[in-house]
Symmetry: C2
DNA sequence: TGGAAAGTTTAGCATTGGCTAAACCTATTG
DNA sequence: CAATAGGTTTAGCCAATGCTAAACTTTCCA
């Protein structure tokens, strides 16, 4: 039954939220990678592909492919068979991710959830909280 | 510099969070669709592909393709050129999404963020909160 | 009633993010 | 110092989620 009086307006505004979520998703993986690489560098002095793969729970080949994209995006630098480095922009993104992560995780703990849950949920939530919500949490 | 002493253990546990996030993402879109379809049915009596497309901010063809998957998954039923219906399972998923959505949105509002932000952020967060965190929020 | 308008579907393409298996380097050590 | 073990990359596959353009239905109205 097509052809009804169409009534635009609110719909366009509604869709904004979903569009932001889709945009978030593209950057989400990138943020997870650079954050993890930063952690590895701080922890063990270097970040290697296989460590990244293991911690993310994906295959080595997947990491290689993704790192290529991150390199194109100017977030990491690497040479074949060598370990991975972050660019300035990569570090900035990693720091920002850590900051959000910390706020969300601390907030969840303060809310009374278990450490396990706080860790897991904050990982998922950190990419979807606006600065305004972060301020409210802090 | 390969060949260092590998040290597994904590890594496997860490990766669990990321694996859950990846799993969440597959169901996230499905949840958004059924929730939106449920809203449309309640609001205007029927859900049409183009309404879904407009509210999600994607092309019509994308909705057609996705609905085919949702049909295969047993969440919606449809016939060509007709409007969309939810199966029992579809309704269950929609209700569950609405429930989470409401809790998260109300919680964000109580936290003092603006209505606009609460709406947008809750849309992104609702798929990543565990039941434990929901209980804590409620 | 017979088009034209408007909505829906199909076809074909691109990108992202996964995988396995095979080929390829590098560093250790015998 | 050469073989080998072990990490890394390549090749080739798949599914999901987008898109545009073209074909196809349905409905409404002149």
């Amino acid at each position: 039954m097509p052809q009804r009086t169409k009534k635009p307006g609110a719909s366009k505004i509604r869709s904004a939220a979903f569009q932001r979520i889709r945009a978030d998703h593209s950057s989400e993986l990138a943020e997870d990678y650079v954050e993890l690489i930063a952690d590895l560098i701080d922890e063990k002095g270097e970040a290697r592909g296989s460590d990244v793969a293991m911690r993310l729970g994906v295959a080595n080949a997947t990491v290689v492919k993704t790192l290529k994209r991150l390199q194109d995006a100017g977030l990491v630098t690497q040479e074949p068979y060598r370990s991975i480095f972050l660019t300035g922009e990569g570090w900035k993104m990693a720091e920002d991710g850590r900051r959000k992560h910390k706020i969300v995780e601390a907030f969840l703990l303060a809310l009374g959830v278990s450490e396990e849950t706080a860790r897991i949920d904050s990982e998922g939530i950190e990419h979807h909280v606006s600065e305004e919500t972060l301020r409210a949490m802090a």
